[in-house]
């Protein structure tokens, strides 16, 4: 799986979970917070994405990630492990 494919998965899940945002408008260089996500929304998006990708990344490794792209990098690391 490529990083771009992972980003697409995350984008669709963000669209499903946040109000007034469509996947096509999401810039992966931004943080989910920039699109109005609160910490509970982020937990939901991350959990749904991991379920979709069949991976399990410890939350402790996600806390410092700054944007959607960094999240995709971390997911890719686990997907390819």
């Amino acid at each position: 799986m490529t990083k771009d494919e992972i980003i697409e998965v995350i984008k669709v899940i963000i669209e499903d979970n946040l109000d007034d945002i469509s996947a096509g408008d999401i810039d992966p260089r931004k943080s989910m917070k920039d699109y109005g996500a609160n910490s509970l929304d982020i937990i939901e998006v991350v959990s749904c994405s991991m379920r979709e990708l069949s991976i399990k990344v410890p939350r402790a490794e996600l806390a410092e990630l700054q944007n959607i792209e960094a999240l995709a990098d971390k997911f890719l690391e686990y997907k390819n492990a």
């Binding site: 109005g36 609160n38 910490s39 509970l40 937990i43 959990s47 379920r51 399990k56 410890p58 939350r59 402790a60 490794e61 806390a63 410092e64 492990a81």
Partner: protein, 418 residues
Amino acid sequence: MPDNILNFSLADFFFNDNPDVLGAPADFEEWMAHPAVQKGFSFYEQVLLDAPRVSTKILSNLDGREHRIINLTSYNYLGLSTHPEVIAASKAALDKYGLGSSGAPLLSGTLDIHVEFARKLAEFKKKEDCLLYSSGLGANVGAIQGIMRKGDYLIMDEKCHKSLVDGGTLSGAKMLFFDHNDMDSLQMMLEKAKGKRTLVVVEGVYSMDGDLPKLPEILDLCDAYNAGSYIDEAHSTLIFGENGRGVAEHFGVEDRIGVSFGTLSKSFGGVGGFVCASKSLIRYLKGYSSAWNFSCAPSPAVTGGLMMALEVATRDSSLRDLLWANVSYMKERLDGMGLDLGGSESQVIPIIIGPSGEKLMGYAGAMQKRGLFLQPVDFPAVPAHARRFRISVSSQLSREEMDETLNIIEDVIVKGVL
């Protein structure tokens, strides 16, 4: 389960894929069964064999034996849970009313001591009225759920307690979190909520950091955006302010606070919670705050003791003075050891260890073996890079107990004697 099993935490098993709805996730069971994880969890749910005083006895999970320990984990800040006058008042109420209230407050559960205690709390907090709840968590969940509705905006400091978050979730209101004590971030959230019914929620003392909110600035922003204010004074009531009324008194802004919440399980030494506000809001909450109107009224035995706890803590400042003297003594010496105490401004003093869970648990075990009961606070309760111990200073601490505590902390955390 992967090799990095120790990087996982309770934050990783909330979502459950087990087809058996009554089963825990399979990987959760596997994780919990790992010896290192079990060792970490062995610090929790250790059983106290005596009252939660500073000097008490536990049945240690580490060796299965009874030990006398210095307890700096309980929230008995003023020692009121075992104060002789509080116990006598509780016994008198037990003799008169029995163990339970036997009813929801709206029907038959309201006793005269509930009315009297609520009135005294309202007077103490300088509000028109007060609602008593059987649980502190229930009071926050119930009050927020009773006030907020779908379409409203609830803006909370990111470090607010889970009970406030749960109340928000239950209410259906849109929740926004601002960066801890960051006024620019709060203003940004208020901008997003502009024109909507908005409530700003902060705490008096943040329970994992021991710092205070920037209350005057927060209230200025609430005024500018026509937002209501709600303060959770769980760890600050009876402790802050000239008369112990809390952080709002400390900052001189009591009249600007919309809702003042307090818990009865910490400095009060009992159990329960209360919400003080205008008469009209309290009357409204009686109809819509489920944790109040669908829950049995507080135990009269507890209420009788709590009423005396309020009397003892406010008849003069002696207990508060003792507490603050102990806080100064401890902080000065901990600071002198070069420990990271975060931004603590209160009787809650974190000792921040850093990212290593292994180090945290190693220190916890070594300190407990030396007779100091100081619970480790791990991720996700605190950020993964800032795992810590959290000292709850009590007025009950003697100079000898503080010196012994400081010796143990210095040997274990500073010198690394494990």
